[in-house]
Symmetry: D2
Subunit: 472 residues, 4 copies
């Protein structure tokens, strides 16, 4: 799944839901998923409901590959509400069977559910259900949630949902179409984002506000941690499903994952990235000729660094906009070509300069080392690599694929070793405090940097972490 | 072919050629075409020669779609030299039959030819050949060139090429594989770029230097106007095919078409664009809060404007990186969504600000007007639209698709009318002199701005232009 | 789904299972499904088990379209046993989600199940399970069976299977991979076929013996009605799951559905069809010049008629072997072309002749009428249409799609009306007794002809039938 | 290209042309090509003309794969006449570039040409043209013909065609769309078939009469050897282009290639095959229990043999109707499966019997030997293989791919050796005289049996044949 130049954490999902009988709900969901495409590129799905029957279309690939005009028209004709999902998945479970939304027949009729996040007790819940005679057809957490809701259902879907939330541990933002309404749920820590929009008097839910902008909906507010939102013919209803815990929205959404034009929990992503650049300039001032970003991820922080430091910003690296997924990999002999196909150093900008290069994160370090080498080749006098976040030391259990712990460069090398590995003249990571300052007084999850998991860990994982603590 | 948001001129081709028996020539050509993909996205082709037999693979679509590993291996096994081509084409002639390189059997064996540019006397040449019993299987100029070479061939391919050049009018950069060598030709005005690279003692030719960087070749020099380059077992040979005319390299390559990391005729594209931004700031200083680019095309000029004016640069518009070609178009009712799917205004950056927005050109004006509207909607106090090139008033006959003359906004409206149409508070185009200053003392073709066609015009077109002169 | 010329009942499924650790089980299953392709062309699937983990690959289309060499190699590497399924489905539920085998995680690990047949109480069983908190992800009976097995499972899969069989009504031939073994089940009436083969000391199960022949397995015997077959490391085991009822194997398997080279319940299909032709000649002797079949379905019966009557057999109709599924339908104006694309009358054979044309069945009658017209056009003096089975009057509830009852020509017209509709000089259907004589003393289900449903009917259906009895 | 079971000669092309302004000419051509699909399955093309402009669509694969409804509608809207082509091609030149019709611009405008047959002097003609400055873009004979017509063209297309025919040697049936008319040409020996049909007052041309039947056209007559047919607004015109030679229509069209329902040069194909079976029974009477065909090719001859001999005809071998081109080949270990996937012996028919098996030809013998083995395995007491044509000893230079001479079993083994190789109890080939008797007094080309090439041979080939004469 990972390209040779892909050395970034991967978001695992994006969700959307809308109740709007007067609108083409499938088409709106399609455009919303388009805006959320950065959150998952491996599969996409839309489920449309007319209040009782639900029709779903799912497929592997990008939103634009999975849906055709014919499919959208077919779906549109079926409904007054819709939910949608885009998914990134780690190798192995990258199957169509695991694509979402998951649609089932249960006691009250049909239900469609889409999930962003990751449960830490999914295995335990699954085992209990199986012991009780249940069967599982997929390997996704979503199926566990759906089976629990179906079993807890007596007369009210909301009540069944609250009971289910009591069982779930970990991170989850859900959208559900069932029982003639759309529902949205955010876990009690609010790890994954979810917000509410309004479009011509009707309501919708989206992982990020950029999806609301795209379909022309007004941003209303973020869903609160532990809150259950219900959208139906009468409008928007709220119920606190579980008491809200100390909010712990994922810091990496701001650092890298979310789209720059989104605003999550009232903090704009572009602004937070710019501030990380500013903090970086304050923590690590360097005498240099130019500040360049690693495009596109280091762009905003580099502008912030340049602004704060007064050192000119320049475009020293150029990204090929046509790099696609079906690209033929260079052979072993041509491995240097691999990075140059995506990024090229502009010799005329770099030659003879002392360069500060800003990136948002380093996961395995291979790409960074090749870029530094590229800059030196075209004549950079010095290369200083500054990262706008702390070293990634711990696995994320809340829905982000950061690569396995053993492959994280920062768990295997200390700062000086990493500097040597990437070949930079100096290397600096923004401090935890720097990130927190940049994010204002927002209460965030920084487990991948500090190992403090607010919403719990899988049982097995906990033991393992304790063993190695201190050494890593 | 044109998407609703596609309001830019389109390059019509990119070419590459390499002689390197020790290398995987098809694979290198593939990567070079990848780097030249911005010059044409409708078809791609690679022809490989073992010195006598030539094998070709062509297809509709992106380089990554047309070639598979299997095809590359098959091609590689066949050769010691290769040429490649990417093509953009206007509607109607967008056929596989027109894809290049064109491969033919002629007196001396096989020949493959790839062409970037446009002949102004192709129709006349074609008519003469047909009268003489020739048949044409395609509608591309390339076939005219190939037939002329075959007819002029006596004992030397170079001589036949010189005779052919005497017949050709207009713009052409050619790469040819024939007679156990690779040849490159640039028309006497040097309208389209073509440069020479060196890779482990062997030579190659490319439309832009970024292709050389990508495959790890050293830039040697640009091919001179009217020069014929021959690359064979003995290295690089030069012959002045026709006397060089006053150079007239296309100004639009610098303004928009070429990749920012390329250097054409010794001027770096990023640097030239930055200088256009600087010139814009000098010609049109405005009191404002932020300078924002229309991504990606206005990026570098906006940085130049911000640098020269001291007004902060900001990312006020965000581009969706996943907008693909197979995208389902919004319906008439959702037309506003069309632009927002590609570009979204970041309200938190824009709200309450006086905004200078920089773009490189306006062709039809529809996209500009929607972006301005979008900025106002999220609270921009003022929007000033500054264009880093003069108004496009004339059709290009040298290989760029600028849309038909009647559809060019600047031929139909004066400056104030355009300002009202796009809805900006003010509108300014960089002057011809400003462009020339930014391009240093380079002698360029600016026919699309000033109507002076250095390499001639088609007969019919000339008459038409004279009729309307003064009014437009 | 139905082509204009498709006027035959459609089989709904074919199944196969094999336990053979020394063999490439996925590849053998692939070839077996190839041989069973006539039983279902809409989806295909293979599930492979290594004794604990099961991997499955399913897709829409023909076996040759669904599987690639890469997929087979991947599956092969996973297992020592496999089951496979081909499926025909009626419009509407023709979804990938409904493709089989169905693979689930249950208490004892993983289980894959493939089903041929149709339950008459599936809706009731489904309702009960849903009331008890279960959810359904598909609309196929198979999911009901799997959930029952999982719920009944205590310590033995066989016991759970027996309990499940007690709940099931209707027709079912199942193959199951679970618990380190392959199991096969046939309902107590033996409506759908299932037989046992032996290959190099290992055992397999198949819907028809032609699949055994194809992979080189020896035919062992048919599975008995109500019998549970288990195949594991120790060989073949049998247990009578439910007491066998009066056997009622489907007569239509012999008349049309099964492959001519298969032998089902000890009666060869080709032989049974030949005998139907013989019976037809005895029941309905006609003075004529030639006997021609409607290819391919009337072939064998026509040979039998010719043999018994002494009238020469001739090939008066020619079938186009390239008629595919993606064929572009003729427009309304060209509707006559539709049948001629598939069948063409050989004028030189037909002209001036009194023709006996033999077909195996008429469902809606449209195709028959066009063929008769075609024969007259090329000069047939008389056309006598003889059908080697009785009129189809009743819907099949046991897994065959005979078209809806209202569309069956024989429920709407009497014999003389049908004769006029198809335009034949005379029309004759083989009698029920004729079919029974041709099938020897085999006890068969002839519900579609006589309305006697040995394995029960769906509750709703029963009422409906009673209402209309006598009139139809 | 050849499947393991493909041991038959392959036809190389089928052509069709129609002039009918009132009709959907592209759609009619599509259906006609459908009926001619057996003559070529590797590429298909349709060119439509409005009298001046010609539009063409070509692709690799079956007619049903190459054309979509959208393409047909687009083509239909363009024209009042059309020509079409289906092509089989030998490996290597199986390229889209070689697909037909070939469409060119020449002096008089546009021309489309489709060709069935093979020139024996194509290489010489091509060399001469190239020496004169022409270039070739394909490797098909058709391009040679087109260039000659263009060069000879002065004021009349018919005259240019006659001059071209004077240059051509070998076999050719052509259809041409040019100059506001459709033309058809058959070489002076009439080696390949071509016939004329009438549809609602308009005329059309087809390789075989089955294409006329399919679109509902009346058969008018065969095109005469050397005749040029012109079809235009005024109807049908004939001109004898070259004096007709002693007719030499290809005997293999009757033996195997043509569709059974076609009538070529006034002899029906089914009838000729039946007579070959009758002749076989007279030349080689055998005491046996049953006569079985190798389906489908031996079917009609087997019926003839059974009729003449009085030995019962039986269906001992069953062909799988779903064997497709994308089938995954069995591995080396499973090679026996390869033939069984296509053909299965019906044990109940064969067991204990003395079997006469009829096939139309043996090319390499591998399939025959596997079928004989299969029959013995299911209990055949004796197997007698009778072939309804003489041994294939010579390469066809007139457009049929019979496999290379060295691979023809009959050039490498004598009768007894072949019998041993295929494992039959006896083997008999119908004599040359037997074939001639079956074909009545038709004058045919039997070069592949007797080495007498009526329309000449390629220069090189002639020498080679002389060398080996006598030994083979």
């Amino acid at each position: 799944m990972r390209e040779p130049w892909d050395d970034k954490p991967n978001e695992e999902c994006g969700v959307f839901g809308i109740y709007a009988p007067e609108q083409e709900v499938a088409r709106l969901t399609y455009y919303a998923l388009y805006a959320l495409q950065h959150r998952g590129q491996e599969s996409a799905g839309i489920a449309v409901s007319d209040g009782s029957t639900i029709q779903v279309h799912k497929g592997m690939g990008l939103v634009s590959e999975v849906f055709s005009e014919r499919v959208l028209l077919e779906l549109n004709s079926k409904g007054k509400m819709a939910i949608g999902h885009v998914r990134y998945s780690t190798t192995g479970s990258s199957l169509l069977a695991n694509a979402q939304p998951l649609v089932v027949h249960y006691q009250k009729g049909m239900m469609a559910l889409a999930h962003n996040g990751n449960l830490t007790n999914a295995a335990e819940l699954r085992d209990e259900l199986v012991k009780d005679g249940a069967v599982f057809q997929t390997t996704v957490d979503t199926e566990v949630i759906v089976l629990l809701i179906a079993r807890y259902y007596r007369s009210s879907l909301e009540d069944a949902l609250v009971k289910t939330m009591l069982d779930l541990q970990g991170a989850y933002s859900l959208v559900i179409a069932a029982d003639n309404k759309i529902m949205g749920v955010r876990d009690p820590y609010g790890v994954r984002p979810l917000c509410i929009g309004q479009l011509e008097g009707r309501y919708c839910l989206a992982s990020e506000s950029c999806a609301l902008d795209t379909i022309g909906a007004e941003f209303v507010r973020d869903v609160l941690p532990g809150e259950i939102i219900t959208i139906d013919e009468d409008g928007l209803h709220s119920r606190q499903g579980l008491p809200s815990q100390k909010t712990a929205v994922c810091a990496f959404e701001y650092i890298y994952l979310a789209r720059p034009d989104s605003t999550i929990d009232e903090l704009n992503v572009t602004e937070s990235r710019r501030r990380m650049g500013v903090e970086l300039a304050r923590e690590c001032p360097i005498e240099a000729d130019i500040v360049i970003p690693v495009p596109d991820s280091g762009m905003t922080a580099a502008l912030g660094y340049a602004e704060e430091s007064g050192i000119p910003f320049a475009q020293g690296l150029l990204k090929n906009r046509y790099v696609g997924r079906t690209f033929i990999q260079p052979t072993q002999e041509m491995r240097e070509v691999a990075v140059r196909l995506k990024l090229n150093a502009n010799a005329q900008v770099i030659r003879g300069k002392r360069v500060i290069m800003i990136d948002d994160s380093i996961v395995r370090g291979t790409t960074s080392s090749r870029i530094v080498e590229m800059l030196r080749k075209v004549g950079a006098k010095e290369v200083h690599l500054l990262i706008s976040s702390p070293p990634v030391l711990y696995t994320c259990y809340y829905g982000i694929d950061t690569a396995e712990r053993e492959k994280l460069i920062a768990t295997n090398m200390d700062l000086e070793e990493i500097r040597q590995y990437v070949g930079a003249d100096s290397l600096y990571y923004l401090s935890d405090e720097g990130v927190r300052r940049a994010l204002g007084n927002l209460s965030v999850c920084m487990a991948c940097f500090d190992g403090n998991y607010p919403a719990g860990m899988p049982t097995g994982a906990k033991a393992k972490l304790e063993t190695c603590k201190g050494k890593c």
